[in-house]
């Protein structure tokens, strides 16, 4: 399932002009700071409402300012891992992980078993702790698990591993690969570290100052 995005949006100094079809599979979104990568993810998630925007997920219209169509973020079923963990400080790690899992799916969300996620992200040791007592990398692993367990149709990852240490990064990346392959969820991955996406990105979109300067198969870049 591919995602179509067509957006014109001004935010501070940034003028974002983007018209892209993001194919299913793994898309790396790269470019310098301030080039509009995070804004693009926010538009896809519905957290930013631009003056002019069309977002289509497969046959579903998520946003179309020409018709006034607008699906709010909580109905879009995106799994969004932000640059910072944004965990719920008053809930335990376990409660954080299950926040987005629907009640009847708590143990087995769309074939995504909470136990598997907990094991693969190595979270079992601190399920009953509050986020404040976790390191930055541990918090980010919880944020990733929480997004996966929300049973998403689209994964948006904004430098999700920037604060995770090397050893865990090397363990998490193959798991993400398997996860995407099993569940066939289109993924947009924002990063500065080319090594994280080299060899796994199917498609690359490169932004500069709010415009696309390259879009194509990773092999062509």
């Amino acid at each position: 399932m591919s995602v179509v995005i067509d957006v014109a949006h001004r935010a501070g100094a940034l003028q974002l002009e983007l018209r892209e079809t993001v194919p299913s599979g793994f898309t790396a979104l790269v470019g310098p700071s301030g080039s509009g990568k995070t804004t693009t993810l926010n538009v896809l998630a519905g957290l930013t409402k631009p003056e002019r925007v069309i977002v289509r997920m497969g046959d579903e219209v998520w946003a179309d300012t020409t018709t006034g169509a607008w699906v709010p973020p909580h109905r879009r079923r995106v799994g969004y891992v932000f640059q910072e963990p944004r965990l719920f400080p008053h809930l335990t790690v376990r409660q954080n992980l299950l926040y987005g899992a629907r009640p009847r799916e708590r143990s087995h969300a769309n074939g995504i078993a909470a136990d598997d996620v907990i094991e693969l992200l190595n979270l079992a040791a601190f399920l009953h702790r509050r986020p404040a007592r976790l390191s930055g990398g541990e918090q980010q692993r919880v944020a990733l698990g929480r997004a996966l367990l929300s049973n998403p149709q689209l994964l948006l990852l904004d430098e999700p591993l920037a604060s995770v240490d090397q050893a865990h990064r090397l363990a998490i990346l193959p798991y993400l690969d398997r996860f995407r392959e099993t569940h066939r969820i289109p993924t947009v991955y924002v990063t500065h570290a080319w090594t994280e996406v080299a060899g796994r990105a199917d498609h690359v979109i490169e932004l500069a100052a709010g415009r696309v300067v390259f879009s194509g198969p990773a092999t062509a870049r």
Binding site: H74, Y80, E84, F88, Y99, G100, R102, A132, A143, A147
Partner: protein
């Protein structure tokens, strides 16, 4: 010191008025505080000014407005009396309304600060996890704003307990019906030879206020411990 029957009546009435005023004002105060903290809309400044009026005009003026609006001859009060048999002027329920209105700006300010301290990014992440705006509010915003909420309700209770000017104007000073602690103290001070009775009531009111403060401190502290 054992309390006399008259003193018990005053204390009980004051607590009843203050508790009803605090709880009755809580939901509107939460709603207004949230609107002011989180929404940009036409008339927001006007709402902010309206909420603060009881804080800036003399309490007797607020009491007078309440009488004009909710009294039996009043615009809304007349209708309520004629159709529902509801009367507020010269009733303890009126005293609770006067106390709630006078406390309202203070309560809204504290709760609003509580809401403003909640990171909107955390609310956004809840939305991306499929939580409706109501669920975000109830499970994320409200619990995280709890310190502001508790502070607001405490200051509201204290203000309601001590309210004088709007109360005496709107519901008068009727023993057993509208004579709260502040009004009873005033009555005793005005009465020749009433100093001893007044000082007992004064110490009572100080005691109740300190108790409420200590209770809320303990509540906040036990909550912080459970968060650790």
């Amino acid at each position: 010191m054992a309390l006399t029957a008259a003193e018990l009546t005053v204390v009980w009435l004051s607590l009843k008025v203050a508790i009803v005023a605090t709880l009755g004002g809580a939901i509107p105060a939460i709603a207004v505080a949230w609107l002011l903290a989180r929404r940009r809309f036409w008339g927001r400044t006007a709402l902010n000014v309206l909420v603060h009026i009881p804080l800036v005009v003399p309490p007797v003026v607020t009491g007078y407005f309440l009488l004009r609006i909710l009294g039996r001859q009043g615009a809304i009060g007349g209708w309520l009396d004629a159709h529902l048999g509801l009367q507020f002027a010269f009733r303890w329920t009126g005293a609770a309304i006067a106390a709630a209105v006078m406390a309202f700006p203070l309560v809204v300010r504290a709760i609003r600060l509580g809401f403003e301290s909640v990171d909107r990014k955390v609310e956004e992440s809840a939305a991306t996890l499929g939580a409706s705006p109501w669920r975000v509010f109830l499970t994320i915003t409200l619990p995280l704003a709890f310190p502001g909420l508790a502070a607001g309700l405490l200051i509201g209770f204290a203000k309601a307990l001590g309210e004088f000017g709007a109360t005496i104007t709107f519901v008068s000073n009727i023993p057993g019906e509208t004579q709260t602690l502040a009004l009873a103290i005033y009555t005793q001070i005005e009465r020749p030879g009433g100093e001893a009775a007044a000082s007992r009531l004064i110490w009572l009111s100080v005691g109740i206020s300190v108790l409420a403060l200590v209770a809320s401190e303990l509540m906040l502290r036990s909550r912080q411990r459970s968060d650790a």
